[in-house]
């Protein structure tokens, strides 16, 4: 494991009496691609702005490389930011934009020129140096913003929803571009987004946030397959979140049918939330299912069909399947034990960091 580069300790921040971050604790390792993921207003951007030095926390400390930088202004920090809407200097050429930080550091002309050439090559925009920012497309401008940041050789690159203003295709291309950049530069990326797909594609570690609290920290696989609570399960991908009862270890009752599962340690006859991903629901003939239901909706999605199956108690299951069952068909529902994810009910005492209103 790489060493801890940044340590956020007990960060609290409120604006106009509204609590944005409440006792946030988070560390970031060297060379990590860490994503802060959450809906708008969850505190992810504020966390990034505190890292960049644009906000000062009300309480708590920002430790960078074993130094307390909580009160250090942005121009004295060894990290650089890529802003959401590029924030290029429109009165300067692309080359001047990239050279901005280096000129301030009084680097030699030849050093600066080498760096400009290197950065433009890195972001695949060679020959654009003399153009003005306005003459570039959104994707190109964003790549210049990245180039402008990385020529300063920061230890950490902060990215604030950098792909938010781009269209879908470009966004996907840029995701690969960013992964490549990170591997080539070997520096830490801290990325803020509300797009779960972006987070899953690029990150080493995802930090899911909601209402100023960290909901879960983990690898993309862990976040997707083993969400710790209903919020995470709901925010990351589609899912069926059903109230159930843990009968005993490895056996859960959902909608009055019993499903074997692999989770243990929840006690006996305890109310739990059960997460089942739509692609994990197995449809078959009514006789083969643990539950039976009726197909009430059917949409062709390209890779798969999206179906809604209503069970007699009224619960609507979201199902993704390559097999097609017409609307009105009686089907049986089953789930592989490994694909059943059991979570504590949000109200339980043993979840300190997780506070959810819903």
């Amino acid at each position: 494991m790489n060493k801890k580069l940044i340590d956020l300790q007990h960060i609290t921040k409120s604006f106009d009496g509204q609590m944005i971050l409440d006792d946030l604790n988070l560390y970031i390792r060297e060379n990590e691609f860490l994503t802060l993921l959450g809906p708008s207003g969850c505190g992810k951007t504020t966390t990034l702005r505190i890292l960049g030095g644009f906000e000062t926390p009300d309480q708590g400390h920002v430790i960078f490389d074993d130094q307390d930088i909580t009160k250090l202004p942005p121009n004295k920090r060894q990290l650089n930011t890529v802003f959401q809407k590029y924030a290029l200097f429109t009165h300067m050429t692309i080359a001047e934009n990239i050279a901005f930080g280096l000129k301030i550091k009084n680097k030699s002309k030849s050093y600066i020129n080498d760096k400009i050439a290197y950065a433009l090559k890195l972001v695949n925009l060679e020959g654009y140096g003399s153009r003005m920012p306005d003459s570039l497309s959104g994707g190109q401008q964003q790549r210049i913003a990245i180039a402008r940041a990385i020529v300063n050789e920061p230890k950490v690159l902060l990215l604030d929803e950098p792909l938010g203003a781009l269209d879908l295709k470009l966004r996907q291309d840029m995701q690969y571009e960013l992964i490549r950049l990170k591997n080539e530069l070997g520096i830490t990326f801290i990325y803020v987004t509300h797009d779960q797909e972006e987070a899953l594609t690029m990150s080493d570690t995802i930090v899911v946030m909601n209402q100023g609290y960290i909901q879960q920290i983990g690898s993309p696989e862990k976040i997707y397959n083993e969400p710790e609570n209903a919020f995470v399960a709901d925010f990351i991908g589609d899912s069926n979140i059903i109230g159930g009862t843990m009968i005993e270890d490895k056996l859960v009752e959902i909608l009055s049918a019993r499903f074997p599962c692999v989770d243990t340690g929840f006690g006996t006859n305890r109310p739990v939330d059960v997460v089942i991903r739509p692609e994990d629901v197995i449809l078959s003939s009514p006789a083969n299912g643990r539950l039976t239901g009726t197909v009430t909706h059917l949409i062709f999605k390209g890779v798969h069909y999206e179906m809604e199956v209503t069970t007699p108690d009224g619960y609507e299951w979201l199902v993704h399947s390559t097999g097609m069952y017409p609307v009105g068909t009686q089907v049986g529902i089953d789930v592989d034990p490994f694909n059943i994810q059991i979570m504590h009910k949000p109200a339980s005492e043993d979840e300190e960091a997780v506070k959810i209103d819903e």
Binding site: Q84, L88, F89, G101, I104, A149
Partner: protein, 273 residues
């Protein structure tokens, strides 16, 4: 037919500009370039070279330049303060600044006359406090004061607009890249507000250059600006030919100002040309 319909909404404005801009302008040029018998002459233009006229022109240029510079120096910090206020607070300050503009221009200037007079309000207060009297009425200083007071909002607003248009993150990006507050200002903020500065300069310099009301009221008959000369040719001497000729010269200076503005403001955001 179709073409005609597209042009229809513009028609009233076309007639307006012909009637109230093009025709008067042609008349000015006609009078300026002819003598009393109607024969072509450049005498009315060349008349600017007489000692009295050129002195008035140079004084006008000097005073309006000084007034413009003072307006700029006062407006920029003010506009920055306005921009740094959040929400409703700044609109109150902008409102207070705009408020005097609701009052008639003549009345405002007349008010300054009353304030500055030898036995005026300011001097009464000063003498009550046993301080030396302020004798600037009927001097160039009083005229500059009047110009600054009257035209300041025209400088503040375009600069304020230019500042407000700057994305906060552009400033943050400059700080992020290592710029200290002074570097942020001179390398980013100031260059980005050039269009606002240019349009402010144009909007202060041109009316200041051509004013005759301010110099009439605050300069008495002692300080003569080119605006006063032109006005007197029309009203007192009834020499429309000379008045028009001098106006044409004045127009050339305004045109010069606009050309210079256009050169500095490449994007054409603030200048008129």
């Amino acid at each position: 037919m179709n073409n005609f319909r597209k042009k229809l909404p513009g028609t009233p404005y076309f007639f307006w500009s012909v009637l109230f801009i093009i025709i008067p302008l042609c008349m000015v040029f006609y009078y300026g370039l002819t003598d009393k018998s109607g024969a072509f002459t450049l005498e009315n233009i060349i008349a600017i070279a007489t000692r009295e006229h050129s002195k008035a022109l140079w004084l006008s240029l000097l005073l309006s330049l000084i007034a413009t510079v003072i307006c700029l120096l006062l407006s920029y910090p003010l506009a920055m303060i306005l921009c740094s206020r959040k929400g409703g607070q700044h609109s109150v300050i902008v409102f207070i600044f705009i408020l005097p503009m609701w009052m008639n221009f003549l009345l405002r200037t007349l008010a300054w006359q009353t304030l500055l007079e030898k036995t005026g309000v300011i001097n009464s207060i000063l003498s009550f406090l046993h301080l030396p009297a302020l004798n600037i009425i009927n001097t160039p200083q009083a005229i500059v004061l009047g110009m600054v007071y009257n035209f300041l909002p025209f400088m503040v607003l375009p600069i304020y607009n230019a500042l407000a248009k700057i994305d906060e993150n552009v400033i943050n990006a400059a700080r992020d890249l290592g710029a200290n507050p002074a570097q942020v200002f001179f390398k980013v903020t100031l260059p980005l507000t050039v269009p606002g500065i240019i349009s402010g300069i144009t909007m202060v310099f041109i009316p200041a250059l051509t004013t005759f009301v301010i110099s009439n009221l605050l300069g008495g008959s002692k300080v003569l600006l080119i605006g006063n000369v032109v006005e007197q040719e029309f009203t007192q001497a009834s020499n429309w030919h000379l008045g028009s000729g001098l106006s044409i010269v004045l127009m050339l200076f305004i045109l010069l100002n606009m050309i210079v503005s256009a050169i500095f403001d490449k994007d054409g955001e603030g200048s008129v040309l």
